[in-house]
Symmetry: C2
Subunit: 185 residues, 2 copies
DNA sequence: GTCTATACAGCGATAGAC
DNA sequence: GTCTATCGCTGTATAGAC
C-alpha cells in the first residue's frame, strides 16, 4: 500500500501538470488528492522538478534507441520513411503521448531542467540525423518539419470529428509527404 | 519621462518573460530593472496577466487584418503563396517575432488567458482559411504545417551559421514547398 | 497622476518530532 | 513515512505621500 505512493505521486503529478501547467500546479494540490501533506512528497522526491525528471528518464532511453537505429542504417529515402513510421508508432503508446503533451505544454517552465534539456537535445539530434552532412539547410529544415508534423498534427486535427487512429494516420501521411519534398527529392 | 514608464514595463516584461518564462519572472525583477517598486507596476497594470494582454492586443488586430485579406481573395494556389509571403514579411518585424517567441514558450502559463485564447483562435482560423470547405483534412494539415514552418523554421535553424535574413529566406522557401504538396497539388 | 510603504495568503522547501 | 511548524519568496491589494 505504501510501496506505490511514489508511483501514485508520479501519476497524479503528471496529470495535473498536463492539465493545468507545471507552475500552476501546487504541491498542496497533489498532496491533497493523495490524502497526504506537502511534506510527505518531499520524502519521495527532493524537489518539484525531481518528480518530472523521474518520469522523463524512460523517454530519453527510447530516443537514444531510435537514434542508434537511424545512424546504423544506410542514408536512403526508404530508411527515412521507415524511421518516420517507427517514430509514429512509438507516439501511439499513450504513456509517451501523455509525456509528450506535458512537455509540449511546459517548455518554458522546464527549460533549464537538465533531464528536459537532454530530451530536447535528443529531439534535435534525431531531426539532424534524418539528413546527410552535405545536405543543404533547407532540406534539413523540411525533414525536421516532417518529424514535427507527427507531434503537431494530432493536436491540429483535434477539432475535426475523427477517431484518434484516423488522426494518427493523417499526421503520418502528411509527414511522409513533407519528408522527401516536391516530386521526390 | 514618466509618460513612457508603461511602455518600458511592457518592453522589459516581455523580454524577461521570453528569456525566463512567464511564471519564473517575478514582478520584483521587472520593477528592480526599471528602478521602481512592485506597487508602481500595479498603477499601470491591474495584474501580471494584464501586462501580457496589453502587448497581445496589437497582434490580434493584425491577425484579423490578414484573415480579412485572405478571405476576400479567390481561393487559388497563387493567393495562398502570396498570403504566406505576407505572413513571413510580418514576422520579420522584430516586435512580432519577440511576441511570437514569447507566446510559443509560454503556452501553458497563459492557456486560460482570454487575450491569448483569442490569439490562438485567430492562428487556427488563419490556418483553416488557407483551405476550401471541401478540402480533405490532410490537405488542411499540410497547409497548416506550412504556416508553422515560418514560425518554427527560424528557431530550428538557429544553430547554423547563417544571418537572420538567410534563416527567414530558407524558412520561407520550405514553407512554400510544403504549402502545395507533392508535384503541385 | 505617479509612486512608496506595508500587509496578506499561498508557494516551494526545510527541520525536527513521532 | 508522515506529520507540524516555519522560512523566504511570490502575486495581489490598499492606504496614503507628493
Amino acid at each position: 500500500m505504501r510501496e506505490d505512493t511514489r508511483a501514485k505521486i508520479q501519476e497524479v503529478a503528471l496529470r495535473l501538470f498536463t492539465e493545468q501547467g507545471y507552475e500552476a500546479t501546487s504541491l498542496r494540490e497533489i498532496a491533497e488528492e493523495l490524502g497526504v501533506t506537502k511534506a510527505a512528497l518531499y520524502y519521495h522526491f527532493k524537489t518539484k522538478d525531481d518528480i518530472v525528471a523521474s518520469v522523463a528518464g524512460d523517454r530519453i532511453a527510447e530516443q537514444d534507441e531510435m537514434l542508434a537505429w537511424l545512424r546504423s542504417q544506410p542514408q536512403t529515402p526508404e530508411t527515412r520513411r521507415e524511421f518516420l513510421r517507427r517514430y509514429a508508432d512509438q507516439l501511439e503508446h499513450s504513456r509517451h503521448q501523455d509525456l509528450g503533451r506535458f512537455l509540449e505544454r511546459n517548455q518554458t517552465s522546464l527549460r533549464d531542467h537538465p533531464t528536459i534539456k537532454a530530451m530536447r537535445m535528443r529531439m534535435l539530434e534525431v531531426a539532424e540525423a534524418l539528413s546527410a552532412p552535405d545536405d543543404p539547410v533547407r532540406v534539413r529544415l523540411r525533414r525536421s518539419m516532417a518529424l514535427f508534423t507527427l507531434h503537431t498534427g494530432i493536436w491540429l486535427t483535434q477539432h475535426y470529428d475523427l477517431t484518434d487512429e484516423e488522426r494518427r494516420e493523417i499526421a503520418r501521411s502528411v509527414a511522409l509527404e513533407i519528408l522527401e519534398g516536391p516530386c521526390g527529392d
